[in-house]
Symmetry: C2
Subunit: 84 residues, 2 copies
């Protein structure tokens, strides 16, 4: 499983769109706070594998390209730990 | 915008995976309750256009295939209206 504290450190670049506490202020960007960590990990991996394309997915692909598997596990654990 | 009440009627087939009140009991399936309706609509349209593939996306594609634009707007409004 991912490391919540490590994920909190790595989430700095995610906060711009997904909100400081994982609650997005922009309706086209999903809130992530309290979402299931396994689903979040699956979504990150889908961007990494190119299984999500078009629209905002292209932005996510750019962000995810620089993430390791461990980074993605930590980020999923972190956002999953936040209060929705 | 979508019609919350109409969305509630149409959500019967979604509840099996996403939970009766949009809170999924299966960690691989996302909870939808309180998510931004515009994002939910964008995600449904991505499945409809084939911009999401692999894994669970294939299941979603089958469900979304039978939905009209109005259905998707109503479902997005309904889930967005639920308490996270």
């Amino acid at each position: 499983d991912g490391d919540v504290d490590a994920g909190a450190q790595k989430a700095a670049s995610c906060a711009a769109c997904h909100g400081a506490q994982g609650k997005s202020a922009v309706p086209l960007y999903p809130s992530l706070a309290g979402q299931h960590a396994p689903y979040l990990l699956q979504a990150l991996q889908a961007y990494k594998k190119g299984n999500r394309s078009g629209g905002q997915a292209e932005v996510m692909k750019a962000f995810v390209a620089g993430l390791s598997d461990k980074d993605m596990e930590d980020l999923a654990a972190y956002y999953g730990s936040l209060k929705p």
